[in-house]
Symmetry: D2
Subunit: 470 residues, 4 copies
């Protein structure tokens, strides 16, 4: 049960968060959940779990590793039944403990119940202490278990019960629960993390992103609303609101980086939004160069938007090694310089003697870009102009993004000019805050942009760093 994973390279990207998936009433429930988790692999590569049910018995399998490694045919065969909930997990929060791998499963007054969670509760520690005083026993170190314990102390129908829970918990939470009789989908009153509803023949499906529906051939119906609770059971689908929606503020970083470009949000593909960000960036901060390259694949769309807007050629200047797994043997001292090259290699004949615009989606610590510019220069690049398709990140995220502390964010240490020097670029420009927001789909609501401007929508202002239950 001890797990030790050496991280590949000091990754500057935001660590992905979590994926949830659920299906009710399908003869291949666990198989479909497997495919759904597969399509959502980009949201969490640390561990995966599926709980299936035939309405009576629950079947569980979970383990650390990629979806393709965790499930094998003989394993899927044991996950019987017509209903299933799945989860991919990034975070290693808590002791690296298989108990922490979701979905969590427990038996209480409601009988067996399982839960899968994407997001983060800001006041989990306080709630744990409070619940412990009342006799609750915690067998994981996840904030998710808090929800189970709170639920076990409520009465009424599910909407009423969840309303009581929602009055206690503060944070971002997209939840899928499964009992003997129903599959329940919940999105927090701010709608910070995504959750979408689909239909596969006669079965309803819930997923973090619509790209999961594409793979299983399900029809996309709509996004679950902020504050909405969806109950799927033998009688069909039932929707209610367990909370007065304060202000819908979905995480803008889902658009910038997290979600897959082929997923939809607000009737718009993520790809289109990122293209828009690239376009806006081009208008705000054009550059003169021989061509534009992306840092594949996360900034592909933004780079293309940037290049097309300015009429500068778009090129594949960095080749990505797609066999980079979760674990990689860290080279010994002399070979550490391999560094980012394990993931990216420049096409030397292309970049040689050229003036290049590198479009990146965001800068967190700045370490990857620093290595990349070095790599490009040693391949002969004459000029490197970095353009970032989002604004500088100044604040940590308490809502489920595995962000570094304030101290680790490069924007808190340098001016833009200082960052430019630090990463070794010839010029550097970020997308303006206004430009970034304006590139996002306009719907009757706003976005959580706390990491950019420090405005935490949940008024939990004291938050000042990495959240931990331990």
């Amino acid at each position: 049960m001890k797990i030790k994973c050496e991280s590949i390279i000091q990754n500057d990207s935001l660590q992905e968060e979590c994926a949830v998936f659920g299906i009710w009433n399908h003869p291949n429930a666990s198989e479909i959940t497997y495919l759904g988790l597969y399509a959502l692999q980009h949201r969490g590569q640390e561990a995966s779990g599926i709980v299936s049910s035939d309405g009576n018995t629950f079947y569980i399998h979970k383990n650390v590793g990629l979806v393709a490694d965790v499930y094998k045919p003989h394993i899927l065969a044991t996950l019987k039944g017509y209903h299933a909930v799945g989860h991919n997990r990034y975070s290693t929060t808590g002791a690296s403990n298989i108990n922490n791998v979701q979905p969590l499963f427990s038996v209480g007054k409601d009988g067996p119940i399982c839960i899968a969670h994407n997001g983060n509760l800001v006041n989990a520690k306080e709630l744990r202490d409070e619940l412990a005083k009342m006799g609750a026993l915690f067998q994981t170190t996840t904030d998710t278990e808090v929800v189970l314990h709170l639920l076990a102390r409520t009465i009424g129908n599910w909407k009423e019960r969840f309303k009581q829970v929602a009055e206690k918990i503060i944070g971002a939470y997209t939840l899928i629960l499964m009992t003997k009789n129903e599959l329940i989908g919940i999105r927090d009153p701010n709608g910070i993390r995504p959750l979408v509803l689909g239909k596969l023949n006669d079965s309803f499906v819930l997923a973090s992103e619509s790209c999961a529906f594409d793979l299983i051939g399900a029809e996309y119906i709509r996004a679950i609303d902020a504050g909405e609770i969806i109950i799927i059971n033998a009688k069909g689908l039932h929707s209610e609101y367990f909370a007065n929606v304060r202000k819908t503020t979905p995480c803008i970083f889902e658009l910038i980086y997290f979600s897959r470009p082929d997923s939809q949000m607000f009737n718009e593909s993520i790809d289109r939004t990122r293209r828009e960000m690239g376009k806006q960036l081009a208008l705000e901060s054009p550059a003169n160069a021989d061509f534009v390259i992306s840092v594949p694949d996360s900034s592909n769309a933004a780079a293309l938007g940037y290049a097309q807007t300015l009429g500068i050629p778009y090129e594949h200047g960095l080749i990505r090694n797609h066999y980079v797994g979760r674990t990689f043997i860290n080279p010994t001292t002399e070979l550490r310089k391999a560094g980012v090259k394990i993931k990216f290699n420049p096409v030397a004949t292309l970049v040689k003697e050229k003036r290049i615009i590198v479009v990146e989606d965001s800068i967190v610590r700045g370490t990857t870009l620093k290595q990349l510019t070095k790599l490009l220069r040693s391949a002969g690049a004459r000029e490197i102009h970095v353009r970032v398709a989002s604004s500088p990140i100044y604040f940590p995220c308490p809502y489920g993004m595995d962000f570094p502390t304030k101290e680790e964010l490069i924007a808190n240490h340098y001016s833009i000019e200082g960052i430019r020097k630090e990463i070794g670029a010839d010029s550097l420009a970020y997308l303006s805050y206004e430009g970034m927001v304006s590139a996002c789909p306009d719907y009757n609501g706003g976005y959580c942009t706390a990491c950019f401007n420090g405005v935490y929508p949940l008024n939990y202002e004291s938050y000042s760093g990495k959240f931990s239950l331990e």
Copy 2:
């Protein structure tokens, strides 16, 4: 997390139960616990777990399999700290679920706590339902988790708190608990399952049987009393009684079969007690034969006692294959006759044409003996006289022995003469109930002999079969 173990052969023996081990304040705590569990392997071969602690952080490792397979050097290295609790488990009660492997670990108002249990609670289901109504969430299907939840609802010092728990739970329980600050040993008010105290230099150790002390070089101090709670912490060892001892009734089957012959009980080695049973059996039911053989190794001592008393030679007539593991590929139909031969093979040249007395420790379903007599006859044995060093078993055990139901016990289906026919012996005799009890050490208390005479010491008379939480 799905575990499927094919059982070796339809085993007539009683399935072993569980082993507990604990040590406080030793630089090699987890290593010593490993050795202790190793010496106690005979009490449980299904799964094993160790929780260690440095007084602050807890380290956990558990898995299905034998002690030698579950722990490897790199695993033991992760089990840091000065204190440790270990558990070997037989029972697959509950969904085969690694969550069920003990020690259980949870965090509640007492902070982190772990528990290892040998025994069985008779009223666990009722208590679970009651606790669930109060909001308790169960993440295992063990009765042990009930104790954790009850404890979390008590106040006072450990003695007082455990007194409150003891008022609720009915059954057999030898428990070792560990918190940040203490190691706690508990034996139920009837003292059904054993627990002994030892000392290794400056460290106190607790174990199911004294043979664990021999291996680690610890000094045997004494048995924990029925109803006693031992608290070991920085201040030393503190003993109290949390219950008025109703009537001490240790399980007589520990003497007949469970415990290792080199362990001590009531200042007597188990070996001596079994020898005494064999002797008594010889006096009650002598037989005329060329020699006496045992069913190795469980009836070695009784067979020797029987042979010596009558002056008949003792021989090694059955060779046991010691490489029989927990899992064995069941042969296809044609080869099923391999059956018990996978475990035992008669020495043909020895048994040929001979009159043999087979001394067995007990008969449960009768299947093994039936196969053995067939095996001996086909090897040429002329006469087979079976002598059983305990009385006929008529009643199931609710106190932790993995016993079959009434229906499966052969003694409920046939008279002694009928059993003789069924197993194919030329003669059959059991040790009388009185003879059996008289062979056990005489101390100021009695024994639980419920499986022989149906007198359940805990007045839980409604009990009628295999206990299950599911």
Copy 3:
């Protein structure tokens, strides 16, 4: 040792072949070889092996799986010494047998010797039979073992000995051998498979492609010539020619598909050559559409070249799931339609109602393209114009490309118009043979284009299908 890998999806692409890597005289020999194999992972994902040596003892590790899975820190630690040879293997030729995983190792009159091979011998079966008659024992089913047996029957210096071997073997072979005293690199007289030489400080390195040098920070020196033998030992590097070069005919498919775009060939990056093919394709077969997309990542460069030439926007229309591993649970019947979607998902909002040009690098069976057009149409594409950046493939390859038989090649079943219908495109055009060859670097030699025109450079004309030793 039995290995069963279910293939991901019915893959239309050419199966990759093999990678070889060798280093002499470096304190981190096995670690560097690991990195080199990592960079060459695209040439073989079935299995990997490293043999290292301290000049006296040889250390071996090989297993099926990806490089990142086959080697772990404790494994690399056992691969001691200063010299190493590594191999990545695609082919499952032969019984799936770990013995077949290269490098092969044997001990004969030359002492210990190991060999890594990329290519394929056309007359391996005849040679095996002949050698067997002379008493040779084969413990693998690889053609590579034939080389070892032949070598063991030669005398003289390495050049002379290999000359004798080269007189016997017909086919494509890039070989790296290692003995106690030297590292030997060999490229067949036609130079069909690539092999390049580099320098890392004082150590010489050999690799299938130059991208391996980029990762380890080695300097690219030059390609090994056709018919050249390079001997690296304590005295340095020594080059000779063991064969009169008939006609240098490197495999044109290395340029079209196999090699990584950031690798160099004939002083030109593969990326540039593919761009040139796309450009040529645009000139020959322009199309009118809203944008151009590639089938990521193999046709990225050609698609970009095509788009830039015609001034049509280039878009990322297909999102590739990078977590597709070697094994994937094949969905049950109902879910088989998942098919190619496991690997690619169209960006629906982008392709909807649009006229699209799909640039593919080559068409083998046509199955992937057929699925892709269906996928794009169901995402709303209005027109789909397929452009292929190479010529139609009519002939199988006996030189190491894991090609289907004549019967499986779609071009042998349909006219171009027939293929268009079969794959469901609105228009289809291939690059002309002349255009394809003209896009390749012009050096003083030609290319093997046997799969396109049936001109087998080794005059082994009887060849008519998949080669197999069994």
Copy 4:
């Protein structure tokens, strides 16, 4: 492929050697071979392999570990066909390399052939060098591979061919070979290692010992003769002699220690022979004591014979932990004193204050006995009289017994009195050489007693220590 097994305890016993098994023409060939290897597990616990055949295709599985671990149902299912050969291996001779695990398999002029070997060739190194000069390539470091290479260089029928091989090889060899058309059993001209023939319905079986027949329900027919070759094929069984039997000299240590007591040799069970040795020992060196104990289970029979002869009670004074596996975590310094206690624990109440006779089967290094006497003394034994049921061992064994060098044999360092002091016994006596031989079955031949008297039956007198190919 690197294997590292920490040995349990410094084992004084002789390391077991190897087991061979073969069956021809049975629908459950691999399953029966599995059971046969299981029954022969005591002859080799390091690794195991089975090769099966349907007369056309060969199926192979081999791995390190115990039989019960190496084969699982899904593995056995892949070992198809009607014929099979199996092997259990002790020795780690050669680089710990899965290639070395037998049966070896190769393809040469005879087509596919596999071989399983028990024994040791004394002149393997010379033959390897000679064969290598002729172009042979060795892919294992076993002496067994030499036989394959020699065979590949012979012509004629199997008898003639093996006669040619036998003229070259010197040593002990019991071989089972399998080709497409026959199963071949061979025993060397001295008959040093055992091989027996049985019948299971219409199928012939070959095994190292008859106990394998008992488990699978086969009928014992006879032992293969020294110098005999048995050919089993579609026409039935054919026996010939490939060698003039010099002098039949089966290994006396098979009787003393190696073989299972329930196996037969010379129409006598091993158990009876060992009993006879104990009886002879009692007559030669009686002792006065309270009781006799054995070192379970290897000296059980001898101890019983000793006790019965003198009329002294036989007791179970040492309890053996049967869960001791091949690997055991070596305790840290402080805990090393656990030592032999991991395997044996004295029954303290039995041995306390008693005068004990310990009967051991043999003494090699003396380390186990030294630890055991210490253990018994600390358990309170008053007198310890050691009696050894064989003679002092002075010479190493070149014929397959994994014996220490001369230097490691305690008898080469001390007189009997010196050994007594060294192991800490109150008295010590060995069985006389004459007594030992006279206890063995009297047949028209002798025994190899080279380890006792240095008379090597193969006149390979220069032999002076542990044999190694490396």
